[in-house]
């Protein structure tokens, strides 16, 4: 396993083609806007190397028998699935943001099942290729970016019907030694902090879309890949002097547009090639795992609840009954999320490939809750924090030799609490509810791993309504032929 320091050094050896604000980023690792996101991924290495977290953060590889980072593990038991949910809460609480590495873990696990099932039907050797690739990822302890979401263009049209055929990633050339791919993947979490990019289809493909039914892995600095960093609210505060106005002074999440401009993929890294009838399965299995992964938001909720309670104390209102009740409500919502994350893992099962898979109904119910509860928790945090959170002057005003004394005087809460503590806590709440971290805590909770309607469709498919009707009819005496 790599240490956090070794991970950072490994990124320095990559030659990524990254753009931000219209310019190429020459030093990705040290860029002040990108670096907090790298540090959040590095936390997945840091905690795995600590004895007080190794039980959750590490696992034993089923292919090599070696100790590995859980983010590269293929789940071999219900206990593995439960530990994955717990790991999400742990890292969410530790970083207060998206730590970006779960998407690769979910991709690896979905591919372990889908490649096996394709081989069973068609006699192909995708699973063998995949296992060799997995060994490489586990041995090197790599970060994989799981790339699913295509730009999609006109949503009413199938991929092959689009005016521009590149709006879904597709194969444009087949060679003896591999394939050439073109297209893009949007809002790719942690892409510029990854060693590998693993591409999957974004929707169920049909025969006429089979050029789009492909899955493959590439080194993140492969020739022809370009990254364009996504903007976040308040992102340029990271360029300012001081650290208070950043809210979270250590960590942050980050997304990018990933463009594949005729990129060559050798056959040994192709895991699905035009088997369109398995594209839906891969999407569904990845999505269900990834919906479980939103256990991370429970950890972020822990941080936000802690911040809300603390600012209530700093403001001297923590004993008010309505404040206490709001804190109770925040905890109720947060722990309800945790119930779903644990339940979908505990009710998982073994697939023919040997991989353990979450209960898809419960994973979708969990994620559906995640599309709602963090918004209510954030609303209550803002309610408790008060409007000061969005009207506070900047850190430079607090540091000003001219007006700093007034900042300190008029922004004081309780007399025994330094004004700076109060400001720092308000900035953290701002960061999580409408600043850079709100990308992860709120909008990602809404749309990540599929928008709310995607879960509702899955819930309607998974629920056994007929059985529920039978129960009702029996109890009221309806006997049907």
């Amino acid at each position: 396993m790599m240490t956090a320091e070794e991970y950072e050094e490994s990124l320095r050896r990559l030659n990524l083609n990254v753009y931000m604000f219209g310019e190429r980023v020459e030093n990705v690792v040290d860029n002040p806007i990108i670096r907090p996101s790298m540090k959040a991924v590095a936390a997945t290495y840091e905690l795995a190397n600590r004895p007080e977290h190794e039980d959750i953060m590490t696992a034993t590889s089923h292919v090599t028998g070696k100790k590995i980072n859980r983010f590269t593990h293929i789940h071999q038991s219900i206990d593995d699935l439960v530990k994955k949910s717990k790991m999400g809460r742990l890292l969410g609480a530790y970083t207060g943001c998206c730590f970006q590495r779960c998407v690769g873990m979910d991709t690896l696990n979905a591919l372990s099942m889908t490649t096996y099932d394709i081989d069973a039907k068609y006699g192909t050797d995708y699973n063998k290729r995949f296992i060799e690739y997995l060994k490489y990822v586990q041995e090197k302890d790599l970060v994989c970016c799981g790339a699913m979401t295509d730009p999609k263009g006109d949503r009413s049209l199938r991929p092959h019907q689009q005016k521009d055929p590149d709006l879904y990633v597709r194969v444009v050339e087949e060679r003896a030694d591999g394939i050439v791919v073109r297209g893009a993947k949007v809002h790719q979490t942690g892409a510029v902090n990854s060693h590998e990019i693993i591409v999957m289809p974004t929707i169920t493909m049909r025969e006429e879309d089979k050029d789009y039914a492909i899955s493959f892995a590439l080194p993140s600095d492969a020739k022809g890949i370009t990254y364009v960093i996504g903007r976040q609210s308040c992102d340029t505060r990271k360029l300012e002097q001081g650290d208070i106005d950043r809210g979270n002074i250590y960590f942050g999440g980050l997304e990018a547009l990933v463009i594949f401009d005729d990129v060559f993929v050798p056959w040994e890294r192709v895991f699905m090639y035009k088997e369109y009838d398995f594209s839906g399965q891969l999407v569904e299995q990845f999505a269900s795992y990834h919906r479980q992964s939103y256990s991370c938001k429970v950890g972020l909720g822990d941080v936000l609840i802690g911040a809300a309670q603390t600012i209530a104390e700093y403001n001297g209102v923590d004993r008010a009954s309505h404040i206490k009740d709001k804190i109770i409500e925040m905890n109720h919502l947060n722990e309800t999320l945790y119930c779903g994350a644990i339940a979908c893992a505990s009710e998982g099962h073994r697939e023919p490939s040997g991989t353990y898979y979450v209960n898809t109904l419960l994973a979708n119910v969990h994620k559906q809750n995640v599309t709602r509860f963090p918004f209510e928790i954030a609303r209550l945090a803002q309610d408790i924090a008060g409007g000061l959170m969005v009207t506070l002057p900047s850190e430079r005003d607090f540091r000003s030799s001219d007006i700093g004394k007034w900042m300190d005087k008029y922004y004081k809460g309780r007399s025994d609490i330094p004004t700076e503590y109060r400001i720092r806590m308000l900035r953290l709440i701002e960061n999580m509810t409408l600043g850079t971290a709100a990308v992860g805590y709120l909008t990602e909770s809404m749309h990540g791993a599929g928008s709310p309607q995607a879960q509702r469709i899955m819930i309607s498919r998974q629920v056994n309504l007929k059985q529920k009707q039978r129960l009702a009819k029996k109890l009221c005496g309806i006997v049907e032929e």
């Binding site: 004895p51 007080e52 977290h53 039980d55 959750i56 530990k83 717990k86 790991m87 809460r89």
Partner: protein, 91 residues
């Protein structure tokens, strides 16, 4: 009595009720030279100290079946452990 060799094992710490690392620091501070803390996988320890973050106590104890196991799942348990070792050391 000689130094007590103790194998240390933490749970994963997903959502602990107290600071487990601080509790172990307290034990080290209180017991000083009376104990030697080593990783739990070290076979020849006098006992294994399992530091759990909550009542779930999720650590798999099977690998430690040949040795006495003491479970700490709160700050109070850490204090009890210190008292027990001190009593043993004094005798």
């Amino acid at each position: 009595m000689g130094k007590v060799k103790v194998g240390l094992k933490y749970c994963g710490g997903c959502n602990p009720d107290y600071d487990r690392v601080k509790a172990v620091e307290y034990i080290k501070e209180q017991l000083g030279d009376a104990i030697e803390l080593v990783p739990a996988q070290t076979e020849d320890t006098d006992m294994v100290l399992v530091v759990e973050g909550c009542e779930v106590c999720c650590v798999d104890l099977a690998p430690f079946s040949s040795r006495p196991v003491i479970i700490v799942k709160s700050e109070e348990d850490a204090q009890s452990f210190v008292r027990e070792i001190k009593a043993r050391y004094e005798h």
